[in-house]
């Protein structure tokens, strides 16, 4: 366990400079945006010149850029992400309110793409080069070429407009008064299309990594030895080859988290899922730069945490990982 504790500590310390760079970059983005927070605030509710001056002083916007950067980083260190202009509430509150929906969407999509992708990869990789493998490989490439939002629209046309099996948008039926299990089922029904549009595309990636890993593992000595001992091909495909190919898939889980967060912006906007991604789109259309920046910082923290969890998982699965770091 020391091994994993060292790993976590190292990762957390390493995350500090990365988050600092993201914050400073975000500050310059705020600076480059036309108008400041007060302009946006006053544009919404109106106000005279005196009030504008007072607000600038109160929010520290009358000071030099260096002082503002210092003030900004100081507030960030206290978990103060500033005020959202459109919601007139602290950015952190708005972001935390939307986060669970995005986590639910991403978690379900990841589960879908990981399970179906690795299973299909197992089929493709159990006999590399045969017809089934070629079909799955090209099919996965074609799937990976599909933009998520377009897949979402096509699925909407088929399942929501033509067949009327599933709802078109939202996360649950509004004011349905449903509780408990019934409400859970309602949310699940609403999430089928968004999860499918987000998950099916990344499925291709897991399939390809699994297939490539298996194709390589078939040539390894211990697999050849097992085959020579007379272990049936089908059994060694699952017990020896697939088990070895699974480890790189775990790494993909972490690598894909940033891409999936980005993809959820379009998917959530398309299906009106009230999550972080849709919030980003709302922030852009309302020119609410502090909110947009808060979302970017939250996403960066999420990507770091997801990768941390994946690294720990990896270390648990593979005792070689981190062993040298702990002893050093």
């Amino acid at each position: 366990m020391i091994r994993i504790r060292t790993l976590i500590l190292r990762r957390l310390v390493g995350a500090i400079p990365v988050l600092a760079i993201v914050s400073v970059g975000g500050f310059f983005l705020l600076e480059a945006a036309p108008g400041d927070a007060v302009d946006a605030y006053v544009a919404g509710i109106g106000g005279d010149a005196q009030m504008i001056d007072e607000l600038r002083q109160a929010w520290g916007l009358d000071r030099s850029a260096a002082a503002r950067l210092g003030f900004y980083l100081w507030s960030l260190a206290h978990l103060d992400l500033g005020q959202s202009v459109t919601f007139s509430r602290p950015v952190l509150d708005v972001v935390l309110e939307r986060l669970p929906n995005t986590l639910l969407l991403m978690g379900s999509a990841t589960a879908l793409s990981f399970s179906v992708g690795s299973l299909l990869g197992l089929f493709a990789g159990s006999r590399p080069g045969n017809f089934r493998d070629r079909f799955l490989s090209i099919g996965s490439l074609a799937l990976y070429a599909v933009p998520g939002f377009w897949l979402g629209l096509v699925l909407t046309v088929i399942f929501a407009v033509q067949l009327r099996w599933l709802p078109v948008s939202g996360i649950e039926t509004i004011a349905s008064g449903k509780q408990g299990v019934e409400r859970g089922l309602d949310v699940a029904r609403h999430l089928v299309l968004p999860v499918a549009s987000l998950g099916f595309i990344y499925l291709a990636l897991y399939l390809r990594v699994m297939r490539a890993g298996m194709a390589e593992a078939w040539r390894m000595d211990f697999v050849l030895a097992a085959r020579a001992r007379g272990v049936p091909r089908r059994r060694s495909a699952v017990r020896h080859v697939a088990r070895n190919a699974l480890l790189p898939l775990v790494t993909m889980l972490g690598l894909q988290s940033a891409a999936m967060l980005g993809g959820s912006v379009v998917i959530e906007s398309l299906f009106s899922v009230p999550g972080l991604g849709r919030l980003a789109q709302e922030a852009v259309s309302a020119r609410d730069t502090p909110l947009l920046l808060g979302i970017i910082l939250t996403s960066a923290v999420m990507v770091i945490l997801i990768n941390l969890v994946v690294d720990c998982l990896y270390a648990l699965l593979d005792p070689r990982v981190g062993a040298s770091e702990a002893s050093a």
């Binding site: 933009p147 377009w150 629209l153 046309v157 940033a258 912006v265 379009v266 789109q281 947009l292 996403s299």
Partner: protein
């Protein structure tokens, strides 16, 4: 020549290049075949596809010709995809080369910046950049490149680190070449092939991000984009789904063409290397 003939023997690669050639032809021929403004009204609104010869793929809500939009949209898609990928690869290889050669503190600082860029989802970064800088062709290209340069930078750096210990670099140093000249003329050309192997993935990603941006209404408003056409059609998805579906197919075929062609080239050149 050997690589080329190997390339032509793979049906996937041939299909990929055929798709790309078709898209390139569409992009180049657009102003000749459809000289009129593709954003102007060309006929009655919402003509279904395959009904009149004048509008083979029908017209949209405002009576704009879908086929003309497809041709002009190919121009935007390919131009943005190629320009963004080129910018990302050039910037990434230069930064990676600089980091690999400088070493020490500069290397550490550049790699932390690379980490930071990889931590922020590329699409969110592009969204934020376009929303601050305003939507135009150049800002969209810059926004996409901003999220894509990290891959080439990492690979270039890793290549430089292994190459700079080789004998021919030591030789160049002995004959008195300037370090910058060694970096750019001796090492970088040798580090490029692995970086270029990434290019198909980067071009495909750039085309997809451009489409997503314009789908959300953040593309250049003065140009036809496939993403914008799909968003346009979404308002009449129930009555005229073809308006969203047709440009999406063009998008899928383009990205698929890029992937297939890229994979074909990598496989053909890998085969050459293993025989040599």
């Amino acid at each position: 020549m050997k690589t080329l003939s190997r390339l032509l023997r793979s049906p996937e690669a041939v299909a990929g290049f055929a798709l790309l050639a078709g898209m390139a032809a569409m992009a180049l021929l657009a102003p000749l075949l459809f000289p009129a403004d593709p954003l102007a009204i060309a006929g009655p609104p919402l003509t279904p596809p395959f009904e009149t010869w004048q509008h083979v793929f029908g017209t949209d809500r405002l009576g704009r010709d879908v086929l003309a939009g497809l041709f002009h949209g190919a121009r935007t898609s390919l131009a943005v995809g190629l320009a963004a990928a080129a910018a990302a690869i050039v910037a990434g290889s230069l930064i990676g080369t600089a980091a690999g050669f400088a070493g020490g503190l500069a290397d550490e600082a550049l790699m932390r910046v690379t980490d930071a860029f990889q931590t922020v989802p590329a699409f969110l970064l592009a969204l934020a950049f376009v929303s601050v800088a305003g939507p135009s062709l150049t800002t969209v290209v810059a926004a996409i490149a901003l999220g894509a340069w990290t891959g080439p930078a990492r690979i270039a750096r890793a290549e430089i680190l292994s190459l700079r210990e080789r004998d021919f670099v030591a030789g160049a140093r002995v004959v008195g070449m300037h370090p910058v000249e060694i970096a750019l003329r001796e090492v970088l050309p040798n580090a490029l092939p692995p970086v270029l192997a990434l290019s198909s993935v980067i071009v495909a990603g750039a085309v997809l991000i451009e489409a997503s941006l314009s789908f959300l209404g953040l593309g250049d408003p003065n140009r036809v984009t496939w993403g914008g056409m799909i968003a346009e059609g979404r308002t009449v998805l129930r009555s005229a789904p073809f308006l969203s579906i047709i440009p999406g197919i063009a998008l899928v075929l383009t990205v698929l063409g890029v992937y297939l062609a890229g994979e074909g080239v990598v496989e053909a050149s890998a085969a050459r290397r293993s025989f040599a």
